[in-house]
Subunit: 161 residues, 6 copies
């Protein structure tokens, strides 16, 4: 029967030992959305600097956070990502900004948490830069889209299939 | 007219100068939810150690992340929180765990980002510890509930009013 | 004749170059004890939540500290541990809590410092959580129990033999 | 009746709220010892560079660690120390090096953990630099010597009285 | 006679005790230049995104580094900056990019190191992003321009006077 | 035609994907100089502790900073250096201290930024420790001397050839 991998028989939380896992090419994609008032989105997109520093700052924050994942999530292994990408797509039709990330690594542990952390911190950074005009923003639907590599193989969310 | 506080007239992102803001008692409360399969929630709640190390680990991760907010959010000020609290409430009726945080500080800048970061990282930690059995979990509705103190005064989300 | 590996011929401290060392499976075990008043130990063990959050918090702190070892010890190499385990055993007979850790890694440098750091920080965390009732606690006997792997091979402390 | 300050009525670990504590001048002194083979101590003290980079590196590591205490100890408040001092005293008569620290701060929370962390990390750093010649070193007797300031006032260990 | 403030009478490096210094408004401005091949500068400035993500990334890196100064410089005090600003000015006439920073704080210790660290890390970030086309770039003339506040009062570099 | 590797076709800054790069032995050497008043240099060199803690502190700061490079430079990959060396050479003839570093690693990404970061932070640390007597010090000529390994092969600055 399946069980929580990070909790041992006595109920104590510990890191999973990945020493015996195969070193393979790993990839994970995650996504999320920050919803905001239409006026807030307009403000980000307005002016002479379309998609300027606001989006650049959030993208960089997401990339840097992926590298810090093991400092934030207590039982995550530290690892040396070979690639992190973060994309931010303003969606005027949905009053929000879609955030997507993709992390890659060749190692014996997956990179799902790194991808999810990148999305979460990019969203928090957007919140920070816009909060003076809109405190009611909501970060929604942060989820894994797809992962590849490792013993558990390929996994896709239902929406990604 | 209102504008984005972290972007100057040339479009460059910079920290807001809080040197002239009043030092007052600040407080912020934030919340979010991680939704999961009913079996996943059962697994967290089952056994001899109800609400054991899984929830404790997530709560501690949230508290520690609040203290790291200024390292994650590029334009956040570093500050010395006087209090961080994180509560995790399993909700069998909604197939998920509700996360709530409250941060306090006496200073010239608010603590909304610290409260939101605590919630996000607690949720990511729950995802990490349960992902081996459920990759389809979703972190939803991360939002500010309330803030007090500072020039902008008291703010409540519509649900908190 | 043997000499200090981290100090060069001019007396300057520098990192050892591990580039030529063999990549092998490494393991290290360390231990220590925090001694306290009997009443303090009772308080940790008492109530409805035996071995509850106090021990969980210390265990997580130890695990996270192992991952931070290279940030704390100036000449330690950063590395990607494949496993960290921390065990805490209250010892009513000795008025204290025994702490033991085990770190694993496949690499060209050992993990003794990671194991010792995990023990030290778990002990400090216990001190922190109990200091309001007992400032006289003492952290004692922090030591390496055993190491395996690498050029110097297997080493055991006399007590572990 | 006295109780553990970091654990609430439900057994959950949380930061203590120091917002209502008085801002006073705080000071804490801690100490510990690393015991080693006489040959190891000779090696540190030998040569043209008496008390050279080995002791300097450990002292600096201890100072830097004091500033990182809140990142290591989950429920410690971050704070801005006004002073950290670390002294290392080789004791040929006891086959070891005594480590002492003193931290100061004007704030609403004490600095005991900072002083203890400085001692622990200075000791670990000495272990690291000498471990190639002596794996049997032991870090002993890490303890608080004295604290001043705050609601609980002046406290001295029995040896310091 | 004047002496090095961070080295005590025995030659040991230690943090300066700032507990007795006055809390005043502090400000420091620093500057530096990264010199590069004209083609490299053209490449940064070219295309549809003038002064786009390359400069934004360096500016954010400089701001974030200012907040990390006390983790980098062993004897620097940690502090809570009220403002950090970084400006990057491409100088086609000098084949380089000028970097200037300004840090502010109300406290009992100055912010010179924070301003200098912001400049250095912004310059290193520019190097990183352009190194694939130009490894011969040089970071030059990193210096303090001006400081205000504190016991030593107002100081200006000769060029700033 | 050559282009900036860290900026994609849309102008967005992202990490380069190094997953397809060859794992080879990498090395980079960098250098820089801090210029100061002759009296300041005399003060560092004077007394019973020639080349004492001031230089040791700067050297250790440089080594530790090399390990932190990926936290400072947003698009740098985290990696596990096998060696960092920092040399500080007081130059009475040039009123300054020369700083040189060398980093090594077996991986699929280079270590130029680590070498440059070590030099920059060592120089900033010297500034910090001497600033009470000399605020006019200047950090000059921070540059790469040489790199080896990887697809782009061997590169030397003109001075190193």
């Amino acid at each position: 029967m399946s069980k929580l991998s990070h909790v041992d028989e006595s109920g104590a939380a510990n890191m999973v030992d990945v020493g015996d896992k195969p070193v393979t090419q790993r990839e994970a994609r995650a996504a999320g959305t920050i919803r905001m008032a239409p006026e807030t989105l307009d403000m980000i997109l307005a002016g002479e600097h379309p998609k300027g520093d606001v989006l650049a700052t959030a993208r960089i924050a997401g990339i840097m956070a992926a590298k810090k994942t093991h400092e934030l999530i207590p039982l995550c292994h530290s690892l040396n990502l070979s690639s992190v990408k973060v994309w931010l797509t303003p969606r005027a039709d949905r009053d929000g900004i879609d955030i997507e990330s993709r992390c890659r690594l060749s190692a014996n542990t997956g990179v799902e948490m790194e991808a999810l952390t990148a999305v979460s911190v990019a969203a928090l950074t957007l919140y920070d830069m816009c909060k003076a005009v809109d405190r009611g923003m909501v970060i929604d639907n942060t989820r894994l889209l797809e992962k590849q590599g490792g013993r558990s193989g390929h996994w896709q969310s239902s929406e990604a299939q």
